[in-house]
C-alpha cells in the first residue's frame, strides 16, 4: 500500500497527471495558460519544464478549437487532457463535447476509442458573478456518451483523475476552485479510484445525504452538527455523477429510510432530481419520508457576496431540511437559517 502524505487538492491532480504522463507517452496536457504561466490555478505548475512544449501545450483562447483538436488526437490514438480554465468556458465548446466527443464512438460503430479527459474547475468560487459561477454537471451528465467525475478530496482527486485518464471514453472531470487548496492524505504512487463507485464519507443511520464535490464538505459539517442532537446522517459522496452508483445510493437509503440530495447546481432537472427519481422507483418501500433536495436557488448567481451565500446550499438549509424530514422541531434559540428563503414544496 502506498504511503499517504498530506498534500493539496491541486497537487494531487498534478501528481495524477505527472505520474500518468510518465507512464504513458501518448498522454499530453493542452489548454489556456497550462504551460508558461504554470496554470491559471497552478494545477499544472512545473509540468512544462518537466515534459516540454510537445506535451504541455498552451493554446489561444479558443475552446472550440482546442477541444476539437483534443478529440481528433484521441481519435488517432493519443490520450489528451484538455484543461478548461473553468467549466463556464466549456460552453463555447459545447458542440465539441456533446456532438463530437459524446457521439463519435457510437456513430463510428466502435471503430476507435476516445480516451480524452476534459478537466477544470466548476461551480461558484467567490463573487465571480452569474457567468462564472455555474455548476454544470447536470448539463454534461445528461448526455449519453460522456462520463462525469467530481472528486471531493485530494485522494479521490488523484485516484479518479488517473482512472479518467486511463478510461477509453470522454470524461468530464469537474473540480472546484475553492477546493484547490484543500489538503488531505493522498497515497503516493499508484492510487486509482474506479469511476462509478460512490463512497460513504461518514456512516449514519437516520438520513442519507447524497452529495458530491464541494457539497460533500457542507454535508460533513451538517452531519457533525446534527450528531450533537443525536441525529446520525450518512454522507454518501457520489464521486462519479455518470455512471451513477445507483446501488450505493439505494443501499444507503435502505439503511436510513430517508434521503436528502445536496447539490450546488440548480434544482430544475438536476442530478438531485435524477437521484430522487431513482429512489422513488428502486427504494419506494424503504422510504419513511419523501426524498428531498437542497440545491442552489433557481436564479442566476448574484455577484454580491452575501446574496451568493444565500443562493448556495448552506449547512443551515440542509439541517432545516433534515429536521423537517425527521419531524424534529427547530431547536429553540437556534439562528434562523436562510432556509426560510427556500420555497416550501
Amino acid at each position: 500500500m502506498p504511503e499517504p502524505r498530506v498534500i493539496s487538492f491541486r497537487e494531487a491532480l498534478r501528481e495524477a497527471m505527472v505520474e500518468e504522463m510518465e507512464r504513458d507517452p501518448s498522454i499530453f496536457l493542452m489548454g489556456e495558460e497550462v504551460g508558461h504561466y504554470n496554470g491559471a490555478y497552478k494545477v499544472s505548475e512545473g509540468m512544462l519544464a518537466r515534459f516540454g512544449e510537445a506535451r504541455v501545450i498552451d493554446t489561444p483562447i479558443a475552446e472550440t478549437g482546442f477541444a476539437g483538436v483534443g478529440i481528433g488526437a484521441a481519435m488517432i490514438g493519443l490520450r489528451p487532457i484538455i484543461e478548461f480554465m473553468t467549466w463556464n468556458f466549456s460552453l463555447t465548446a459545447i458542440d465539441q463535447l456533446i456532438n463530437n466527443a459524446a457521439k463519435l464512438r457510437y456513430m463510428a460503430d466502435g471503430q476507435f476509442t476516445l480516451p480524452i479527459v476534459f478537466r477544470g474547475p466548476g461551480g461558484a468560487a467567490h463573487a465571480l458573478a452569474a457567468q462564472h459561477s455555474q455548476a454544470l454537471e447536470a448539463l454534461y451528465a445528461h448526455v449519453p456518451g460522456l462520463k462525469v467525475v467530481m472528486p471531493s478530496t485530494p485522494a479521490d482527486a488523484k485516484g479518479l483523475l488517473k482512472a479518467a485518464i486511463r478510461d477509453d471514453n470522454p470524461v468530464c472531470f469537474i473540480e472546484s476552485e475553492v477546493m484547490y487548496a484543500l489538503k488531505g492524505e493522498v497515497p503516493a504512487g499508484e492510487h486509482v479510484v474506479p469511476l462509478g463507485v460512490a463512497e460513504v464519507k461518514r456512516p449514519g443511520r437516520d438520513v442519507t445525504l447524497v452529495t458530491w464535490s464541494r457539497m460533500t464538505h457542507t454535508c460533513l459539517k451538517v452531519a457533525e452538527e446534527l450528531a450533537r442532537d443525536g441525529i446520525e446522517a450518512e454522507v454518501l459522496d457520489l464521486r462519479t455523477i455518470r455512471p451513477l452508483d445507483v446501488a450505493a445510493i439505494v443501499a444507503s437509503v435502505r439503511r436510513t429510510h430517508r434521503c436528502v440530495v445536496v447539490q450546488e447546481g440548480w434544482p430544475f432537472a438536476g442530478v438531485a432530481a435524477e437521484v430522487v427519481a431513482l429512489l422513488a422507483r428502486d427504494a419506494f418501500d424503504d422510504l419513511d419520508a419523501p426524498p428531498e433536495r437542497v440545491t442552489s436557488l433557481d436564479v442566476p448567481m448574484p455577484y454580491a457576496r452575501n446574496l451568493e451565500e444565500l443562493v448556495l446550499p448552506s449547512p443551515a438549509r440542509v439541517i432545516a431540511t433534515v429536521r423537517r424530514l425527521l419531524g424534529v422541531e427547530e431547536t429553540l434559540g437556534a439562528p434562523i437559517p436562510p432556509a426560510r428563503v427556500q420555497r416550501r414544496r
Binding site: R254, R255, D285, D286, D288, A289, R324
Partner: protein, 434 residues
Amino acid sequence: MPVDVTMPKLSDTMEEGKILKWLKHPGDRVAIGEIIAEVETDKANMELEAYDEGTLAEVRVPEGESAPVGAVIAVLAAPGEGVAKGPAAGAGKAAAAAEKAAPSARAPASAPGAAAAAKAEAGREPFRPTVVRRPEPVESRGAAASVKASPLARRIAQERGLDLAQVTGTGPGGRIVQKDVEAALAERGGTPPAPAKPAAPAEPRPAAESRVELSRIRRTTAKRMGESKREIPHFYASSEIAMDEAARLKEALAALEGEYEGLTYTHVVLKAVGLALTRVPELNASYDGDAMVLHQAVNVGVATAVDDGLVVPVVRHCDREPLAAIVRQARGLLGRARSGRFASDDLTGATFTLSNLGMLPVTEFAAVINPPQAAILAVGTIRETPVVRDGQIVPGRRMTVTVSCDHRIIDGVLAGRFLRELKGLLENPLALVL
C-alpha cells in the same frame, strides 16, 4: 336537525339502487336499526336500516324507481322538527306528512319558499351514511387507503398485519412513519420490531410451524380458486365409464410407437372431451353478465403439477385435431412445463379444463372451475372391478369422472348429456381415431 338518508353503496360494482318497497312511510317514527326500505342492487335485494332516529319526513324516491349511489332517497326529521320540501317526485305527500308531524316548525309563510329551502338545506347534515347489512368491509378499506403513511410504514404494516387506521402518526403532517408502526407493533405485544435491514430474515416464529412464501403461481392459483368458489355456484355430476375398450385401444396405439409414442389416458380423454364438447357446446362456454358466450374453439386446459404449484397448459382444438396431433401438442406442453419455459400462448385460451388424478389412487374427486370457463372435468383412476355383463360377473375396468359446472349457465341435464356423450365415446372409442 333533519338528516338525509342516502342510497348506500352495497357492492363494489353498484352504481344505483332501486327502491323495491318502503317499509316506513312519511310520518312514521323510525328507530336506529329499524329497516326502512328494501333496495334492489345489481347483485341482490338488501334491507336498508336507519342510522338515525326520528320521523320519516319525506320520501324522495318512490317505490319502483332507482337512484344513484349517494343520492338522497329520504329525509328523517327529529321529533318536533320541520323539513324543507325536496325537489323530487312524491314530495307533496311527504311534505304533507312532515307538516302533520311537525307543524310548528315550518318556515314562516312570509319567507320566500326558495330561501327557506336553502336555509333548511344549509342546516342539514350532508351525506350521513346509512348502515345496512353488508358483509364486505368496503368502508374500512377506503379508510385505510386515506391514512397518511410513509411507504416504509405501509410495507411494515402490511408484512406484520397491522391496521394503519389504528396507528397514530407522529411524522410531519401527522404522517405515520416507521417508528409509529413499530410502537404500535410493540404495544400489540407481538414479536419485537424487525431490525431495519434490507433483507431481514423471517421473523422468529414458534418452532411448530414454518411460514413458506407462496410462489407467484401459487398466489395466482389461490386468488383465482378463491374467486371461483366464491363467485361461481358449482354443481357436480359423476359418471362411471367402462374403460375396457379404451384401454385396449390405448395399448394397441401405444404399441405402434411413432406418432403415438407416449400416448396416455389423458390424451385419450382429451380427444373424447373435445368431441363431447362439440355435441354439448353449452359446457364449452363462459358466463358473462347477461350473456352466455359459446366458444367456437375447443381448447382444453390440462391441470399440470409443477414444482411451484399448478399450471394449466392448453391443448388446442381437441375436437378436430387427430389424436396423434393431440399427443404431440400435449407432449410439447409437458416438456415446456417441466422446464418452466412456456411459450406465450401455452397458458391462454382454454375453454374447458381437464384434471386427471388417475395416476394416483384417487377413485373420484370434484374440481374447482377455472374461470372464466364454465366447467371442469375431474378424472379418477381406472380400477379393476367386478362388473356384471350378460348376467355374469366378469372383471372390468372402470373410471369415474366428475364434471363441475357453473350453474348460472349450465343445468344438470346438460351436464348429464355431456357425460352421456363422453361415456359413449370412451366406451366405443373408435370414433376417437376416425
